[in-house]
Subunit: 259 residues, 2 copies
């Protein structure tokens, strides 16, 4: 495999750092190639602005068309182009981060906002009365696999079916479906460590063993069965799920899982 | 009212800019006090790091306890303390932003990550076997009201009950419930403009009128009826919704709405 890890934590000597280090070692020892973007170490710029688009920036700035024109003309900032190249190189992408306020830290959101430009991350393919783009299963990153690995402060029960935070699968849906599946990647089930601030060394040893097992079985792991946009399940161009496809009683994000 | 608007868009001459300008004028003309944090204009720092915590930063950095100690001792960076003061001053908070990748832009997530510290945004109140903090309806910002105002590139149908992106209420739940209700604010229904990149001047005039009406009726608007954590609906300390409280067939985020 060619594995690209995007790491987003301000302290490398942290649980997140240990998980990334373990991933690099485990995968390299198994003969795979690994590249890491350590966003804090890179001092990654988090905010989309005119400087991202070079001469393609219009005045007033128009983020969507300007990002598309900058992508097409090669005018994107060098740090963005480098990340797009790593995504093209990889066959497997891992995002490693702590869950902060129920989603990714700002620096990782800024990596998505800046790297997933129009023409690369979205706005790909024909948009017409009969088609609404190559997305949700198709697109620039089709054929690749992606996985979230995250640490969570609270206990698992708070993220269970009836937990007050909402189910972890629903909290991760906007990332897994909206960001990773959208440009075409298959999404593997996430690796989640709860009560991350209270791990004993025994807890960590057990978690590390589980992480190694996940890493070494990546190639055989079945993706989350999100429905592809253009596979017939959705009315086009309104892009609504056709009636009657889901199990009775399903609603919300869970509709978009093939049964 | 004392209204605090947090504005997150890189181009002030944009639809988001027009909505913020209209809010300032409408509310001021009606006799209300308004303060605005224009995050791009302020060059808001998006990333949590040791510099945020001053002498309270430990080595290695431990974000949760360090942010709590910095908050208690007054060692937080000046820009964070200024935003906390604006939140304490306000009775009404509006977040104005474009929906990027199904959530807020990185600069606004970085405002949450940095300002909502331990002791201020979370980690408030008794945590024991019989209580799990003052949160979800209680906390530092209890008694205040908050509202999202956002622009969305896609059409409304994509964000409807069966739309491929998932329902807008579910996409906004981690922000509305997880970030705003968590430290105690009541959450008003969001103001959402779809197809933001394709608005004609007639469309904008109609949207502006709807926005004015929302702004001038803020004080009479009923909040989203999220269940309070400590009001009896949840088992404590597992913080799971007690069985049988919801309408039949409800699941996921919608469980946390009182019927």
């Amino acid at each position: 495999m060619k594995v690209f890890i995007v790491h987003a934590h301000p302290e490398r000597r942290s649980l997140n750092g240990a998980l990334t280090d373990l991933a690099v070692k485990t995968l390299t020892d198994a003969g795979h190639e690994v590249r890491v973007s350590d966003l804090y170490a890179m001092r990654w710029k988090s905010t989309v602005d005119a400087a991202d688009f070079g001469p393609a920036a219009s005045d007033p700035l128009a983020v969507v068309p300007d990002s598309g024109q900058a992508y097409e003309s090669g005018a994107l900032a060098a740090d963005i182009r480098a990340e797009q190249e790593k995504l093209r190189w990889a066959d497997t992408v891992i995002l490693q981060f702590p869950l902060w306020w129920y989603t990714m830290p700002a620096i990782l959101k800024g990596w998505v906002d800046r790297v997933f430009t129009y023409g690369f991350g979205y706005g790909v393919g024909e948009h017409s009365d009969t088609r609404y783009g190559d997305r949700f299963g198709e697109g620039t990153l089709q054929g690749k696999r992606a996985m979230l690995s995250l640490t969570v402060g609270g206990p698992e029960g708070h993220y269970s079916d009836r937990g007050i935070n909402g189910p972890i699968d629903d909290l991760l849906f906007p990332i897994q479906h909206g960001i990773l599946f959208h440009p075409g990647m298959a999404v593997l089930p996430p690796f989640v460590l709860y009560r991350a601030g209270r791990m004993s060394s025994e807890d960590f040893a057990a978690a590390a063993e589980r992480w190694r097992e996940r890493l070494l079985s990546l190639e055989e792991t079945e993706p989350v069965p999100y429905r592809t946009q253009n596979g017939g399940d959705y009315e086009i161009p309104v892009v609504r799920l056709r009636a009657g496809l889901e199990k009775p009683g399903r609603s919300g994000f869970a509709l978009h899982l093939a049964e």
